[in-house]
């Protein structure tokens, strides 16, 4: 679904935002992207939305290399993704219904299709009774649900949420991520950038930590290595010495990663990454 191959991005002013990123997000995954401010999260998202292009490497979306895509083709790549913003980006003079319908209109959907689909999406996010309200009359949580409805209405194969809970009451943040999880359960890939550790801890999803333009931790990779190590060690009778050595190495690597992140709690990949992310933030502060 999303693949980064040796991707580096240096801005014109010389800032190296991303350095040699390698990553694969499979269809149907739910991924949290964590990292301190200036770590490269926004650049990471911009490369996916084709707002920026990498200096090196390839960004592949749905099997299509978008690294140096023609301008005219960008809108069609974007139609595969639904974007959710921290500041909601709703149009205040339009009703909830019109805000959602607007997203369909601008990609050329027919009025008949809009009439059919908007109420369905609004009911999906639990706002069918607020269709005629204006965004200014709603709470932050409700507004973000409108934002989510708008992102979903064109039936994208992935949702890219840039700190969607950043402007919302913490209690309501869980509601939004619950909704994203539900959407993910129905098959939509979800990529969510966040700062809120409580959320990441609560929802056991894949976590990618970016620091200084590099991926410093990826729970999927750690889990994969753990699984490989466990599988091999369970069957030591049937494998040769080389396999045992590889298994030991893998386990060692996973343990090192955990130690590096200074996790003193019961080892789990999620906690290891979170601990690292918290450290980063403390350092930033």
């Amino acid at each position: 679904m999303i693949e980064f191959r040796n991707v580096s991005k240096v801005y014109n002013n010389g800032t190296e935002a991303l350095h040699n990123i390698n990553l694969t997000v499979e269809k149907g995954e739910f991924v949290f992207i964590v990292g301190s401010s200036g770590a490269g999260k926004s650049t990471f998202l911009k490369l996916i939305t084709c707002e920026e292009h990498p200096n090196e490497g390839q960004v592949i979306i749905d099997g299509e290399d978008v690294s140096h895509i023609r301008k005219g083709k960008i809108p069609y790549v974007r139609r595969k993704m639904g974007l959710v913003f921290q500041d909601f980006r709703l149009i205040d003079h339009m009703t909830v219904y019109d805000n959602v319908a607007f997203a369909m209109r601008v990609v050329g959907a027919s009025p008949k299709m809009i009439k059919k689909r908007v109420p369905y999406i609004l009911s999906l996010v639990g706002l069918q009774h607020k269709a005629k309200h204006y965004p200014t009359e709603m709470s932050g949580g409700e507004r973000q649900r409108v934002g989510l409805a708008r992102a979903l209405v064109n039936n994208p194969s992935m949702i890219i949420a840039d700190e969607p809970t950043g402007n919302i009451d913490p209690a309501l943040s869980f509601e939004i991520v619950d909704l994203l999880s539900e959407i993910n359960r129905r098959g939509t890939t979800v990529l969510m950038v966040t700062h809120e550790h409580s959320l990441v801890k609560h929802f056991h999803k894949r976590i990618i930590q970016i620091h200084s333009g590099e991926i410093v931790a990826d729970t999927a990779a750690i889990a994969r290595e753990q699984q490989a190590a466990a599988a091999i060690s369970q069957d030591t009778e049937t494998v040769d010495r080389e396999a045992i050595r590889r298994a030991k190495e893998a386990r060692q690597k996973a343990d090192d990663e955990a130690r590096r992140l200074e996790s003193t709690r019961e080892f789990s990949a999620t906690d290891a990454v979170l601990a690292g992310s918290e450290d980063d933030e403390q350092a930033d502060a």
């Binding site: 926004s42 998202l45 911009k46 939305t49 084709c50 707002e51 301008k71 005219g72 960008i74 809108p75 069609y76 790549v77 974007r78 139609r79 639904g82 974007l83 913003f85 980006r89 149009i91 607007f102 997203a103 209109r105 601008v106 990609v107 050329g108 027919s110 009025p111 708008r150 064109n154 840039d162």
Partner: protein, 303 residues
């Protein structure tokens, strides 16, 4: 482009125009002055050219005789003129014919001259003459002036030179003004569209983030520019045609013997030209700013 989109995009363009009405009115005002000046310059130039060609075309001089000169004397004067070597043609124009001719040229307005016939006719008898050699013009005219009974003559050669000078000044001045106002109009239209774009930047960024094509984003702004152009074109052509009508009437009252160019047969073309020019101005003005905006910031969907 699907049909249901066209209606939507036009509606958006009109909405833009209304939301931004102060700037829209300013753009329309400047474009109207530009189009009006262009129209005036063209009409003045057309009339001057037509006058010049009619004067130069017949290459004739009208010699007016003294008022109340007896017919016999008038015939004598004619004989004397004909005896001058350089005269190729010499025709008598009785004052009644001159009056009838003037009434005919004035059309419906000619009726005001009713009752001025016979003894009340204010026009004098005249001869129209042509020469073989125009380089002997001054010499020939001196000889004619010396004949007893000749009052004055119309020296069209000087008028033609004067008209040609005026025409040149009008053309150069109007061209300069039109170019300056044209640039100002484009600038103002593009600024108006820019203001609309600024006030709608959230919408544009949302449009881009959900995958609207640049063409789709552009159309309402171009529609806005074109409507500004069309309104300006419509107002200017109406004002111009009404003003021309009035100006021609006023001119006939002051100088009855002048013939203004009749634009009635061309009204259709003039209206079409104004609509097209207005719309093109709007199109360019609108396209300049939205094109620039989309190139600079148009791909921003996330930030």
């Amino acid at each position: 482009m699907k049909i249901h989109n066209i209606g939507y995009l036009f509606k958006e363009g009109i909405k833009n125009l209304w939301k931004n009405r102060t700037m829209s009115i300013a753009s329309i005002g400047v474009l109207i002055s530009c189009l009006l000046l262009t129209g005036c310059a063209v009409l003045i130039s057309m009339n001057l050219t037509s006058m010049m060609s009619s004067i130069e075309g017949n290459n004739s001089v009208t010699i007016y005789l003294n008022e109340g000169l007896p017919s016999l004397s008038a015939i004598e004067v004619g004989e004397q003129i004909r005896s001058i070597e350089n005269i190729s043609e010499c025709n008598f124009v009785p004052k009644d014919d001159a009056l009838a001719d003037m009434m005919e040229r004035l059309g419906d307005d000619g009726t005001i001259l009713n009752g001025l016939d016979g003894d009340d006719n204010f026009l004098p008898d005249a001869y129209t003459i042509s020469m073989y050699d125009l380089s002997l013009y001054d010499d020939t005219m001196n000889q004619i002036q010396a004949i007893e009974g000749v009052d004055r003559y119309t020296d069209y050669s000087h008028i033609a030179t004067m008209l040609s000078n005026i025409d040149l000044i009008v053309r150069v001045a109007s061209l300069a003004i039109i170019v300056i106002l044209g640039i100002v109009s484009l600038f103002i239209i593009s600024n108006t569209v820019k203001v609309t774009m600024f006030s709608r930047r959230t919408e544009i960024s949302i449009m881009k983030s959900v995958g609207a094509t640049n063409g789709f984003v552009r159309i309402p702004f171009i529609v806005e520019g074109m409507i500004i152009g069309l309104i300006s074109g419509g107002v200017s052509v109406t004002v111009l045609l009404l003003a021309y009508d009035r100006a021609v009437m006023a001119l006939y009252n002051i100088v009855p013997f002048l013939t203004a160019v009749d634009i009635d047969p061309y009204i259709g073309y003039i209206i079409a030209a104004y609509a097209v020019v207005g719309a093109l101005f709007g199109l360019f003005g609108g396209s300049i700013s939205i094109g620039k905006y989309l190139n600079n910031e148009g791909e921003n969907a996330v930030a």
